[in-house]
């Protein structure tokens, strides 16, 4: 895992000092709220419905057990003993006091963490595959590139006041688990015909009120040119992105209005002028960063299925259920990747109590080389668990309500904080998620339904990624009442698609019933149990689902 050196540590320490001074100048009235707002935002501090919210960056979703314990402690000291994991692999505290923020940031700096650029019109935390460095299907560990991007983008003098926020995601695997096609820039590592590894560069994807699937601006970018190419894109965007209307200010609108060919022309022209300059990455520099992501000291184990694991799988039904849903194939023989569901029925998606965070840290120390990941689907991951240890890990997680066997199932819902917390929301998200999850509490039904990604946003800003949910739910305000629009067929993977609107919006109760109806319809018309909800939808289209929901109602 990446460890700060003196340069990194000095940087975050100086940032804390700078913010402390800014807060002081705000409190004396030297700077106005209008001038203070972008400063606090670039330190992750939002003013929400009831209190300040502090958003902590978890760069590319990688945490050490030491850091997770620190986050738990900060959650106890400054919040109410909770943390909320978000779709951007970040952590939010929802009950922070303004006067405490500089101290909270100082505590974070002690565990090599920060809240830099977690908000504001700048380059945000770079996200990636939660299985990076462990997945059997990956070409290279994308975290090396995320860290290179993290450093380049931190306090970038030219790109701190962009037209709008800017999000970059990287996948090192052909099976995209990082949703790269719905980011401002998506980077997909792949091999070219000569066998060299580089990036497909995708630009102009995004959700929000005008969703777009990103377009490929360059098929193959050599690794050493990554930063100069990113800088070229950002420079074009900074100068030509719209600033007259915040809803049209993301790069996706620039790409849409100018067309990808014009944008490519401008970017390539800019890049030609800089590609052999100071941003060109020497191989030694790449190697230096890569060395920090060296694999942990795995035991040499046999491939195939471990006997203890197989035995537990046969004899312990609950364990088998969990292992089937919540583990993923590791690249190292004898190891597995474990996803810890933060979606127990009745809980708010992504919420974790301090004692749960501490428990996960302990389990990671014992069974996963002290490493934890945060997923954009608001779960946690133990990336390197010996197969033989899976039964013990299951037992340890279960003791803290962390062994819900529902990863990828209907109750594994992404939801934004919604009207319960957020000042922008039209409707609540969390109660709807909770009620849907309860409908799928019956494991037999949930597992029979299989993979089904339900995503809920409380408003058009789409923080819950509803556009790319197999079933998407969007909260709208209808004459002061909370209503919900349903979309079907969205997907954030390598075949990314924006969901189709099914019909008029429904109230909360009808929405939950409608999800049931959609699932029943799917079960009735699917070819067989291997055909996922999304596959069935792609095969038959909207009509049978629409009919079922609206005729029934």
């Amino acid at each position: 895992m990446y460890q700060y050196d003196e340069i990194d540590q000095t940087m975050v320490d100086e940032r804390v000092a700078q913010f402390r001074d800014q807060v002081a100048r705000r409190l004396t009235g030297e700077i106005s709220e209008d001038e203070f707002k972008p400063l606090r935002l670039q330190n992750g501090l939002y003013l929400q419905l009831h209190a300040y919210m502090l958003r902590i960056a978890i760069p590319y979703g990688t945490l050490s057990s030491h850091q997770l314990r620190g986050l738990a402690q900060i959650g106890c000291k400054y919040d109410r003993g909770w943390g909320h994991f978000t779709t951007r692999q970040n952590l939010q505290y929802n009950w922070i006091k303004l006067e405490d923020t500089a101290d909270a940031l100082a505590d974070l700096a002690k565990i090599q963490m920060h809240a830099i650029q977690t908000s504001g019109n700048c380059i945000r935390n770079t996200t990636t595959d939660q299985f990076a460095g462990a997945a059997h299907d990956e070409i290279e560990d994308p975290r090396v590139w995320c860290e290179i991007i993290r450093q380049w983008s931190t306090f970038h003098p030219e790109f701190s006041f962009l037209p709008r926020k800017f999000k970059i995601a990287v996948t090192g695997s052909p099976n995209d688990r990082a949703a790269v096609r719905v980011h401002d820039i998506g980077l997909r590592m792949h091999k070219n015909a000569a066998g060299e590894v580089g990036f497909e560069v995708i630009v102009g994807g995004g959700l929000g009120r005008t969703p777009f699937i990103g377009k490929t601006i360059r098929d193959f970018l050599p690794k050493q040119d990554l930063l100069s190419y990113l800088e070229a894109i950002l420079r074009v965007y900074n100068q030509f992105g719209r600033r007259d209307n915040i809803y049209k200010a993301r790069i996706k609108i620039l790409v849409h209005e100018l067309g990808i060919d014009t944008v490519r022309e401008k970017v390539e022209a800019e890049w030609q002028a800089t590609k052999d300059g100071a941003l060109k990455l020497p191989q030694e520099a790449i190697d230096q960063i890569a060395a920090q992501f060296a694999p942990p000291p795995y035991e040499k184990l046999q491939g195939g299925i471990n006997a203890d694991y197989a035995n537990a799988f046969r004899t312990d039904f609950e364990f088998g259920l969990w292992a089937r849903r919540n583990t993923f194939k590791h690249k190292q023989p004898g190891y597995s990747i474990v996803t810890i569901s933060l979606k127990k029925e009745g809980e708010a998606p992504g919420d974790a109590k301090a004692e749960q965070m501490n428990a996960v840290a302990d389990i990671a120390d014992r069974y996963s080389f002290g490493e934890i990941r945060v997923t954009h689907e608001q779960n946690l991951v133990l990336p390197h668990v010996r197969q033989a240890d899976l039964p013990a890990v299951f037992k340890a997680l279960k003791a803290y309500d962390l062994a819900t066997p529902n990863v990828g199932l209907a109750s594994d819902i992404i939801a934004c904080p919604g009207l319960d917390y957020c000042a922008l929301a039209n409707a609540r998200s969390i109660p709807v998620a909770q009620q849907i999850a309860l409908r799928f509490k019956n494991w037999e039904r949930a597992h029979d339904v299989g993979e089904l990604k339900i995503k809920i946003s409380g408003c058009i800003n789409a923080c819950g990624h509803h556009h790319v949910g197999h079933i998407g739910i969007l909260g709208v305000d209808k004459a002061g009442e909370e209503f919900y629009q349903l979309t079907l067929g969205g997907s954030a993977d390598d075949q990314a698609a924006i969901g189709d609107l099914i019909g008029p919006s429904l109230n909360a109760t009808d929405t939950v019933d409608a999800i049931d109806t959609l699932v029943e319809t799917y079960l009735r018309i699917r070819k067989d149990s291997d055909e996922r909800f999304l596959d069935t939808y792609r095969r038959v289209g909207l009509a049978p689902f629409k009919e079922a929901v609206y005729v029934a109602a």
């Binding site: 050196d5 340069i7 990194d8 000095t10 940087m11 100086e14 940032r15 700078q18 800014q22 700077i31 001038e35 972008p38 400063l39 019109n121 290179i148 450093q151 380049w152 983008s153 931190t154 306090f155 970038h156 003098p157 030219e158 790109f159 701190s160 006041f161 962009l162 930063l227 420079r235 900074n238 100068q239 600033r243 002028a273 100071a278 941003l279 990455l281 020497p282 030694e284 520099a285 230096q288």
Partner: protein, 172 residues
Amino acid sequence: MSLLKNGHIVGEDAFQLVADDATVPASGAVLITYARWQAEKDQLSGRNSPLGISLPNNLDVLDFGPEAERFDLIVLSFPKFSDGRAYSQARLLRERFGYKGELRATGHVLQDQLWHMQRSGFDAFEIPREDAAEAFAKASRSFTNVYQPTGDGRVSALKQRLAAARKKEAAE
């Protein structure tokens, strides 16, 4: 309003701002608009006194860049601190077109943006406060290190580490 150059308050601006409808004096340092330059390029080119130009922040600076070296002062504007287009203009003028003259930031210039402006190549600032020099001095001390190379000559963290590793290797 204070005018700050290289960290020090300058009593009086050497450049006289000439409105588009006023006559440009035959001698003395003047500051003109981009529009005027476009219209009267031929007459103004031959002028023997220092010439400054203020560029709108929506100008594609690639179009102007080749002419930059003709000027002694270029003024870039921040209509609002949150409008960051002039950062790109500044870097392009300095790093692409090799502009060496005075590069001045005007408009909504705040202490907390001075660091970014300096790094982007600005060396002069119009700041609406008396203690501009102190604010500037404080802002320039914000960070000991930088992560990214710009034209300001600071060595990026990446290059620092590389140099340290090479030095270590050479010693071994």
